[in-house]
Symmetry: C2
Subunit: 340 residues, 2 copies
Amino acid sequence: MGVTLKDIAAEAGVSLMTVSNVVNGKQSRVSAATRERIMRIVKDRGYVPSASARSLAARSSRLVGLLVPAKDEASLTIDPHTVEVVGMLERELRRLDYHLMLRGIARRAEITEALRSWNLDGAVLLGFQDAEIDRLKPDAVGKVAMVAMDSYSENPLALEVRSDDFGGAELAVRHLVSLGHRRIAFAGPAFSKTGVVRERFEGYRKVLAENKIEFDESLVSTVDISHQEGEAHGRWLAAERPDVTAVFTTADLLAIGVVEGLANAGRAVPQEVSVIGYDNADIAVYVTPKLTTVAQDLPGKAAEAVRLMMDRLAGKDRPEQATTLQVRLVERETAAPPPA
Amino acid sequence: MGVTLKDIAAEAGVSLMTVSNVVNGKQSRVSAATRERIMRIVKDRGYVPSASARSLAARSSRLVGLLVPAKDEASLTIDPHTVEVVGMLERELRRLDYHLMLRGIARRAEITEALRSWNLDGAVLLGFQDAEIDRLKPDAVGKVAMVAMDSYSENPLALEVRSDDFGGAELAVRHLVSLGHRRIAFAGPAFSKTGVVRERFEGYRKVLAENKIEFDESLVSTVDISHQEGEAHGRWLAAERPDVTAVFTTADLLAIGVVEGLANAGRAVPQEVSVIGYDNADIAVYVTPKLTTVAQDLPGKAAEAVRLMMDRLAGKDRPEQATTLQVRLVERETAAPPPA
DNA sequence: CATGATAGGTTTAGCGCTATACCTAGCTCG
DNA sequence: CGAGCTAGGTATAGCGCTAAACCTATCATG
């Protein structure tokens, strides 16, 4: 069907391996003249190497899997700030001549299947629970360079890239405290012993402790990340917790919902209640008032993920420490001093 | 490294081809007893077929490319409503045991390279200009089932799936007219002879004509799809075109910007000016006032794309007509009668 | 001048799978 | 009862590529 190495070799009057070497840029093996000649023919005939054949023969596919949890019959839901990471990963990988395979994972075994079947060189795990990462076994992973994003699993089989979630929470809550708030609520999805949300929660606690503000269990609420849940929570706060003057949430979408719920219940943001989000999503500036939030270094995250993966593929050891990217507070309009 | 067909064959005491037939569900060739026995071993040993080997031997990869335009060194920018389509495509394909390869296309030749190198069975072109689709040549496409989303190219080499853009515009503008508006502006990105934006523009024109409203060139503005551009345009409208009482925009993001610009310039939406967006993105309900907009049938679009692709892979002819999905108007808070 | 090196190749042996042709025993049927 | 079919397999020949071993002429070197 297409042009093959053999065709090029025949036309150039050299062996197939010589063409292979030229195409793969193995400098030492061929003279400049031969290389030029072959390159010319490759261009002319529009030769494109077969990835499957390469993958089979070389035991390396230059393919990286992007694995995302998926319910069996449900479509992948990639939240907006994750999408950016995906786009950036794709670019980084493309520059290095790797390709990205997007795969929803419904059953655990599918991770292994994907790795093995496609002979993946690397995989990025996006949005998995720490527990899932923990469960990865050496024989399932093989020599695939696995990068877990936003995981705190510490499974030695996975390279880890995450933001400074603890520090991000500190930044946000410290900002609220410095504005004069003392009754500061925490709202986020359910969390367990480890994980992104746990870190942010601990950051919140630490700043409270630092400032001798007693931790009040009744101020932390489990709220799923959705606008609707946020809105309901905002109304609840307004109705049941008039003492609360500030809310730190673990997601912008949630924060926006809370702001709306508060507003719907007649409480002004930020005059009466301050709200801080997390992620600095695009929407943060589309809403009124514009959301104060914690921004992650998304390009950095993607670049780090790829760098770590390439290092491992090059045989380097897993770094001692998981990579942690800096975050920063973006002050906008939803945080202000509490009412007098 | 992994378990191969050969290993299974040896353990089962049958030929390699028999195992292959069992694994691929070729019913006729093997007795039920043998099949059971082999299946058991396959399970036990955790055999996973090698996609590269299959692709090479069978000349079919069960891989579908998701091709998205990308500037050379820039990351893919997938807008939020496209992301949903991606997630849905992935699910549909996964159900059929196909895989998705995400690939940014910087130079035109990369389309062919991707198709050929990976031996793709199909490809979905997302966000390309009609002109790019037009340029696809038979020898580049080969027997790959190409689906162009939201294209009006009519290139026989590509299957086309799109929304009823003309009808969507009609819906929106008719709604504005029925509310009593006569000075209705159109705002969207630059467009050419064909394409999504052109269709929406023509829909807008048609409704004007239907209602004997003279078309006024000065009411149509070229505005890039971004919140910022929208905001600027909103302010411009407020300042320069006080006669305009309604704006139809081709994207929600743009509409939201326009609403904000108008508001910033002191013009109330919808009391003084009505705005209608397009796409019914999530953000449409996060902003205040909530955006009236035209919703597309995203799940339908993804499902149709996959259906068309599978039909073509099954050898069916390209349907005469491009598939066009229905749209609907979602009335929310940004459209109201003009001021008296 | 024998002795390596080295540059510039070539040859061989698969990678794991599928398509296709082929084989054989047992059965049907005019 | 022999031709022909079918069920249930097997054998062979690649798919397009790469890793690794091998070959040979040329040249520098002690």
